[in-house]
């Protein structure tokens, strides 16, 4: 008794829902890609397990909120200021929290990282309170394309993320400062031998990693609430992406970020939204069970 047009309608609805999930997945994946990119530089190249990375992301969103709310700055100006401030915060964190522990076992850096994230989280709570805040959406409009609802802000996230990734690639491949990072990544001792100051590279890497995390946070801040714990899960997911994508691999981090974003959106839409946050963690354990060095990983010591 079903007419073909009815089936076609059902199919179309289904397709629309699917495309909508993909769109949302790409949007979230953009932030994952940027955050994982920053972490792969620090964790993969400098070999520092920066467990405070997600919290630096959180602080970036708060700076943006503060500048807009307190001084009435525009959205883009606040974003740029937040990125600049966070670059400096990143350098400060590297200098105070990680550099003194350079030649010590990993576990000490780990404790130091927990100290840093306790300070960041509780500092934000002391200043802005434990409740969530909302950044006014600068571009509230929406467009409809192929039946998918796309808000301007979400489109801006996707486009800005791609721009940011390209800019970062240009920085690493074309500038001297960027090339020193790649040199350290390839061979730490060799880089030191040819006169590269590894401490300075550390500093620059932390600045970039925190600045990009802040940019990602400011981009999605108008879409979601900001809160002192917004970065905790994100930081862990970034670690998962970095391991699956291969330590220190920039293309791996970008691909991993988008794949995870899309998988989460599909899993959240079709399987269970309650467990959305742990798909990545389950996937990591499963993949490590099959390949202990990660999907594209190399052996770690």
């Amino acid at each position: 008794m079903f007419s073909t047009s009815r089936w076609a309608f059902w199919g179309q609805k289904h397709m629309q829902l699917f495309l909508q999930q993909i769109f949302n997945g790409v949007m979230i994946g953009s932030t994952y890609a940027i955050v994982a990119l920053g972490l792969t530089l620090v964790f993969g190249i400098l070999n520092i397990p920066n467990f405070a990375h997600g919290h630096l992301y959180m602080l970036g969103a708060y700076f943006c909120f503060f500048l807009m709310n307190q001084y009435g700055f525009g959205y883009w100006i606040s974003l740029v200021f937040s990125v600049v401030i966070m670059a400096m915060v990143g350098m400060l964190v590297e200098r105070l929290v990680y550099r003194p522990l350079q030649d010590r076992p990993h576990i000490n850096s780990f404790i130091s990282a927990i100290g840093a994230l306790i300070i960041l989280e509780n500092g934000v709570i002391a200043i802005w309170g434990p409740q969530g805040h909302r950044i006014p959406n600068p571009y509230p409009g929406i467009v409809k394309l192929l039946g998918i609802t796309m808000s301007y802000q979400r489109l801006i996230v996707i486009v800005s993320a791609i721009a940011l990734i390209i800019l970062l690639q240009i920085f690493i491949k074309k500038t001297t400062a960027g090339m020193t990072i790649e040199a350290v990544a390839q061979n730490r001792e060799g880089a030191m031998l040819v006169g590269i100051n590894v401490n300075r590279v550390s500093s620059i890497t932390f600045a970039i990693s925190s600045a990009t995390a802040a940019a990602a946070a400011c981009l999605v801040a108008p879409i979601f609430m900001i809160s002192p714990t917004m970065g905790a899960f994100l930081g862990m997911k970034a670690f998962v992406i970095v391991i699956l994508g291969g330590l220190g691999s920039i293309p791996g981090a970008i691909m991993g970020g988008y794949i995870l974003g899309i998988l989460e959106a599909l899993g959240g839409g079709y399987l269970s939204a309650a467990y959305k946050d742990v798909y990545a963690f389950g996937a990591l354990i499963l993949i490590l069970a099959i390949k202990p060095t990660g999907l594209f990983g190399r052996e770690v010591n």
Binding site: P49, S112, G115, N122, A274, L284, T293
Partner: protein, 335 residues
């Protein structure tokens, strides 16, 4: 070593045990006493974490996950009518079995990979505890967990665990049990092989240590005790929630362990008592308390990388060197 010989050689230990037994008569403040009971309980957690992390060198960040498995296991079983004295070993065994299951894939990885894989497992446990509402009660958790029923000892009669003092002795007994087992373990050939794995896994493998089996055994034993501590915790507190299994708990124990002194037997216990007391003393800082604590944490890990026990042994070494030098000068002056 016979008990007599042990007591002759280590009078300090005897003194400590007597002190621990006399503690309920010395502390009158209920609040302080509660901190002491929790200190004993968390000492079991840090001691077991120490086995896998301190002695075997594998940074497991799923410890609170296994603690949670033990806690939920005992809570659900005792609420269903199973005796605490049966539920506790059962839940500990379940935690150990879960450890085996999760250790098999994750222990094949090395270094940070293992830390992050176990971190992921820990988060999964707490998220499942929060969302599997039919079994775990969701974010409200399990409430009204019965306290341990009286224990009948022939010749002495029933011992009830209704009072705080009795609960203290219960936890103390389990702490001593854990401590004795850990002591025997780390001073055995097995313990030596754990340390060999920690110091150089490739070398250990080369001299014939089955490193994978060693790591797995250490992990399973550590998780057995984590589960046991969780089971006792739920029964004493009376309610548990997903935060019982949260990663924050793991981080707390990690801090106790590292600041107390990893790879020592006294360090984890010292850490589990000293850090909560320090945090309690910082109460007056109110909202800034955790910020100051975070700063303290970084400073201590930079300047005292081996924790309190490391600082003590360094102090003893220096004092001894100073004393020896003094003797040497005297002898030289006499000669």
């Amino acid at each position: 070593m016979s008990v007599k010989g042990f007591l002759r050689e280590k009078p300090l230990y005897l003194l400590l045990v007597v002190f621990a037994l006399a503690l309920p008569f010395l502390i009158t403040n209920r609040y302080v006493f509660q901190i002491v009971i929790m200190g004993c309980l968390f000492s079991i957690c840090t001691l077991s974490m120490n086995l896998i992390l301190g002695y075997t060198g594998q940074v497991s960040l799923a410890h609170a996950g296994f603690f949670g498995i033990g806690a939920y296991g005992v809570a659900l079983m005792t609420k269903a009518g199973v005796s605490f004295w049966l539920a506790l070993p059962l839940a500990s065994l379940i935690a150990a079995a879960a450890g085996l299951l999760i250790g098999l894939p994750t222990l094949r990885t090395r270094g940070s990979y293992f830390a992050i894989a176990t971190l992921c497992f820990g988060v999964i446990i707490s998220v499942v505890a929060g969302n599997w509402i039919e079994v775990t009660g969701g974010y409200t958790g399990v409430v009204g967990i019965p306290s341990p029923p009286p224990l009948y000892i022939p010749g002495i009669g029933p011992i009830s665990f209704k009072t705080m003092e009795a609960q203290y002795y219960l936890v103390l007994a389990f702490l001593l049990l854990t401590l004795i087992i850990m002591h025997r373990l780390v001073h055995s050939l097995l313990g030596l092989s754990f340390m060999a794995i920690r110091n150089n896994e490739i070398l250990a493998e080369a001299v014939g240590v089955n490193t994978f089996a060693g790591k797995l055994l250490s992990f399973v034993v550590a998780n057995f005790f984590a589960g046991m501590a969780g089971g006792i915790y739920g029964s004493l507190i009376g309610s548990i929630s997903p935060s019982t299994a949260s990663i924050d708990m793991t981080f707390n124990w990690l801090i106790y362990l590292l600041l107390g002194g990893a790879a020592t037997l006294a360090g984890p216990i010292i850490g589990a008592f000293v850090i909560p007391v320090v945090l309690d003393q910082l109460q007056f800082l109110q909202g800034y308390r955790m910020i100051i604590f975070g700063i303290l944490l970084i400073v201590v890990v930079i300047y005292f990388p081996r924790g309190i026990m490391g600082a003590i042994s360094e102090l003893v070494r220096r004092a001894r060197a100073w004393y020896e030098r003094g003797k040497g000068v005297k002898r030289a002056a006499a000669g």
